[in-house]
């Protein structure tokens, strides 16, 4: 998986504040092409903020982020270029409720990547087939279950052939019986070699597919390790405590 040694994301000395609140403290993180990174930590620890900085949904005040060699700045052109390579799946799906499922998928290809309606539609249907909901293509998002909506959201973010996928707690808003259908799609994606950063509490998923797991607390990276050592040889007390809290049930 991490066979190529080029860094696709380089985050260095990243600092972010919300007003006076220091949300990210000196984050340094390099991610190689094809790596699967899982970010976990207690709520409010800055995990979502961190991945939202990567596609510039959040502005940061200090430090730098390079995405496939392009540095993130205020320049609208650059931001759009990066966003066409980095797609994101949200906790609350954020599908566009006024558009049908297939129109949700074809929007970016048509308007951002200048594909023809025909091409975009064919690709969209293929992707919907892949996530197992091709027969719902002409429905509206609110007619689908949560799990189906999240799979549509994943298909939508794949529509632009991204190099990097960001997942922001993709299963946290789902009913328990729907979590596995979404995780299955994510596992399949991970096996195909796309670079992924997932903020999630699904430790089974992390153990199964992650190359590295990053534990964040209080706005900083506390520990990072491969799954094996992450779960069995936690070094810091904070990670030990966190693991005890989420794994004892």
């Amino acid at each position: 998986m991490s066979d190529k040694n080029t860094n696709i994301i380089e985050i260095s000395e990243l600092n972010k504040w919300y007003g006076d609140f220091h949300a990210l403290k000196n984050i340094n993180l390099d991610i190689k092409e094809g790596e699967i990174i899982v970010v976990c930590g207690p709520s409010g620890s800055g995990k979502s903020t961190l991945i939202r900085c990567v596609n510039f949904l959040e502005k940061f005040q200090e430090g730098s982020i390079l995405v496939s060699g392009t540095e993130l700045t205020d320049d609208a052109q650059k931001i759009r270029k990066i966003r066409s390579e980095v797609s994101m799946v949200f906790q609350h799906f954020n599908l566009f409720p006024h558009l049908t499922i297939v129109d949700n998928l074809t929007l970016a290809p048509i308007w951002v990547h200048n594909e023809t309606k025909q091409e975009a539609r064919e690709k969209a249907l293929k992707l919907l087939d892949r996530v197992g909901i091709k027969d719902q293509a002409e429905k509206y998002p609110n007619q689908l279950s949560g799990g189906q909506q999240q799979r549509v959201a994943i298909a939508r973010s794949l529509c632009t052939n991204p190099k990097i996928m960001l997942f922001d707690e993709p299963t946290s808003a789902l009913d328990p019986e729907m979590i596995s259908e979404v995780l299955d799609v994510m596992i399949e994606l991970a096996r195909e070699g796309i670079t992924m950063i997932c903020v999630t509490h699904e430790m089974g998923f992390a153990r199964k597919v992650a190359n590295r797991i990053i534990f964040m607390d209080d706005g900083q990276i506390v520990e990072e390790n491969d799954p094996e050592n992450f779960f069995n040889n936690a070094e810091s007390d904070r990670l030990q405590l966190f693991l005890n809290q989420i794994l004892t049930h």
Binding site: L57, A76, F96
Partner: protein, 382 residues
Amino acid sequence: MPVFDQQETRKPPISQIGAILWLKTNLFSSWINSILTFASLYLLYIMIPPLLNWMIFDASFSFGTINFFGFEIKFSEEMATNDNCGRVGACWPYIYEKLYMYTYGFYPRTETWRPNTVFALTGLLFVIVPLVKNYKYKNRVTLSLIILYPLISYILIAGGFGLLTPVDTDQWGGLLLTLIIASVGIIVSFPIGVLLALGRQSNLKVIKLFSTLFIEFIRAVPLITILFMASFVLPLFLESGNYFDKLLRALIGIALFQAAYFAEVVRGGLQAIPRGQYEAADAIGLSYFQKNVLIILPQALKISIPNIVGSSISLFKDTTLVLIIGLFDMLAMVNLTSNDPYWLGRETEGFVFVTMVMWAILYTMSRYSRKLELRFNTENKN
């Protein structure tokens, strides 16, 4: 461990449905409600019969000739006069007599076909638009209609361009003028309102400040003041050569006024859109313009439909204020025609008639808005 049988599904008990239950819950749910119900029934009892008597049973209908949008309907050889109508009931032949004034104002009688064509075109528009809904080139058809319809209507009504006898805006009046002011006011102000609403939400400080100042200034001033300003004060600032049409000045005033109200209505809709929609639009790489046109506005406008129509309805009613700057809309025509020495004391008929026309138009608008709401409702479809 107990195992339970599958329960059968049943209809609700008979005492919980039907007309008796409806009466019980809606009209007689408590003793206060029962008293109110009886009081309302009594009010209707003392009001409705006299009204019906005046409007229908004691009224005169069949004298003279009615000219209905160019079609002559002759009721009797006898001329309608104030005398052969009784004084007990309404004299509807008065309305037939003045229908031309109510509809076209002082528009030259020889040119009536021109506004009539515009009325017909307008009606046709409501037939064509739903018909082409599933047509392949519906966008092109709609776009050409948007450009052609106002252009043709203007040429027909105003004349000129060497084609038709010019008709001065001073001669436009009645329902024709009411509809022109209301529709131009609503259609021109709407895009301005949307831009102002977006401006007020903008991150660019200057645009935000300008939009906010404009909206708050206009909303703090009554429409009458704006009409006065447009009609009497504005010409003072312009050089005498730049004097432009009174109706045009009123239209600009009304459009700016309505734009401020639309802006606030649309802003309400914009605020109801979850942040996630903006983020998702950003994340897939849409530009600011694409994000608003494709994602945000369709949803925000949909939520705002009831308020947009509500605001349009109040503008429609407010157009009656143009009387004070010397434009004669439908309501002004009631006053004007009641001064006819042959028809003294008949303004009641005029007011009742105008009320009915206004009600018919505005009720249609509000029904249409309900239809739009249902059509665009994708959120709660099952």
